[in-house]
Amino acid sequence: MIVTDVIAFTVRSLQGFRLRTALMLVAMAIGVAAVIVLTALGEGARRFVADQFSALGTHLLIVLPGRSETTGGPPPLLGETPRNLTLDDALALRRLAGVRRVAPISLGNADISVGRRQREVLIVGTNEEYQHVRQLLIGQGRFLATPDPRRLSPECVLGTEVRRELFGPTLALGRWVRLGERRCRVVGVLGTQQHSLGVAMDEIVLVPVAFALTLFNKESLFRVLVEVRSRDRVKQTEQGIRDLIRARHDGEDDVTVIAQDAVLATFDKVLRALTFAVAGIAAIALAVAGVLIMNVMLIAVTQRTAEIGLLKALGAPARQITMLFVSEAAALSLTGAVVGLAVGQLGSWIMARTYPDVPIGAPAWAVWAALGVALATGILFGILPARRAARLDPVSALSRR
């Protein structure tokens, strides 16, 4: 049989049973669309998180006081105080090869007031490097600028929301505010941040780290952010930080160093697993569509018994009849898959339009996998009915009207 004739014959018989064709197309389309939309969502979430992290620089190391490790043995007793991670420790890290920037962080809550307006805010004590490490945007004025990090320069940078609440429409730059027991001058206001990573940057106040330590009466930093010069030096620098701190802390290995990469990798893994899981669930819809195709094709074989008998009487060998029925199933699943692909892509596009922050879009592998699985299930589930058709006894098939 000529290929074009096979196609024509297939199309004619699908047109001959419109309702059944439509139902099977819908089933297959739903399956494929589900795979596309769900993987698009999963992939979107993964890329959203990845973007957020990489915006912060993927070669970032975070140093925390205290050792958190599960190396076996009894867990550390509650209330065990780690050795302080001091400002001097942080400044010492600067001298390590491979380190580009070091931003010490001291964190605490304090009341901020101007005149009679007062509220509690999160105070972040840090240095000018912090702006680059976290890629902060400045709305007005300038960022903290303290050449000597040990100096208690009384200056602060306000988040936009803090500025709005304290100053309203009036100019904030150059004004003095009261922070807890101390006073400082507003030198800048943050802009609206692109990547906040869950921190409400609008609601913080940034001060020099020495100022914060004094304000909170603390010795220890909350953590130190270390930006490594290049990605391939992250491992080596991590070890360097550990060694340096151990040397400074009388041989005690009492800090935790987290690579931003590691955090990102974990998120990536989790979200990728989630995407696969969701895609797997959607694939069940595809399998169901496949079973439906098998069912309907089996009914079709029964309905068309006389026609199959006729084809045999006209000299069609068994494999030709198998081929005709398999190509019907394949045509159905392929058409259904293409319709589903279109619907799925449309759905993803609508979602992407609705949530422009999240890069929603089905990855290429999901598209190909959905099409492939649809075609494979269609053919696979088409083979059984087709073989049944090919095995029909022509005499009894023709004896029916």
Binding site: M1, I2, D5, F9, R12, S13, Q15, G16, A306, E307, G309, L310, L311, K312, A313, L314, G315, A316, P317, A318, R319, Q320, P394, V395, L398, R401
Partner: protein, 225 residues
């Protein structure tokens, strides 16, 4: 052309074995016109199915054009059927979704004949059966007689050497039946073997050779005129 030697066909019906054909010996030469008569269940249709290679005998030898076809594979049988044998059925067996022309072209489509050649041959046979102006009608738009003529056109389009007709007029009024018979006899005049299974005594009389089957055996085999 056709030689049957000791052909038996048994069917297992439950525990019992039914002997549909018992040691049939028959030879048919080119251009013969045969009516196979007999009561219902006598084995006429089974004989026709065996000659048409739709069914295989349980025992015996079947030579078609001096070739033993009892031992052929399914694929080989399919191609012999396609090239040598045309079927005409009582219930026409046209594909309802295809037009008359497409139904007639179906054996050629299955055989992989090129579309231009198909069109040429379909046009020719449509003219022969007098339905040239109905070529685009679907079976449900045709009368019974017209449907059977389309079915005959389908049977002759591959230019077979044998046409087998199982009660071809059984579902038609007598006028249409006459038309159908005339077309079949015209094909016979061109040298094609025509074997008709029928209950109709009149057709039995028209055929030049009449075979009567009772209980799976040939009771009489008469040359007429």
């Amino acid at each position: 052309m056709i030689r049957l030697e000791g052909i038996c066909r048994d069917f297992a019906v439950g525990e019992q074995t039914v002997h549909a054909l018992r040691r049939i010996n028959l030879s048919v030469h080119s251009g013969e016109y045969i009516a196979v008569m007999g009561p219902s269940g006598s084995g006429k249709s089974t004989l026709l199915n065996i000659i048409g290679l739709l069914d295989r005998p349980t025992a015996g030898v079947f030579l078609l054009a001096d070739q033993d076809v009892t031992g052929l594979s399914d694929n080989e049988i399919a191609s012999v059927r396609r090239d040598q044998i045309g079927f005409v059925f009582q219930f026409f067996h046209l594909v309802p979704r295809l037009s008359a022309a497409e139904n007639i072209a179906l054996p050629m489509t299955l055989a992989g004949v090129q579309p231009t050649e198909r069109k040429r041959r379909v046009t020719a046979v449509l003219a022969e059966i007098g339905l040239a102006e109905r070529s685009h009608h679907r079976p449900d738009q045709l009368s019974g007689g017209q449907r059977q003529r389309v079915a005959i056109a389908r049977a002759m389009v591959m230019e077979p050497s044998i046409i087998l007709a199982d009660e071809p007029t059984g579902n038609l009024d007598s006028k249409s039946g006459q038309d159908v018979l005339r077309i079949l006899e015209r094909l016979n005049d061109q040298g094609i073997i025509l074997i008709i299974v029928t209950h109709n005594a009149e057709i039995g009389d028209r055929a030049r050779r009449s075979i009567r089957i009772v209980d799976g055996a040939i009771e009489s085999d008469v040359q007429q005129r």
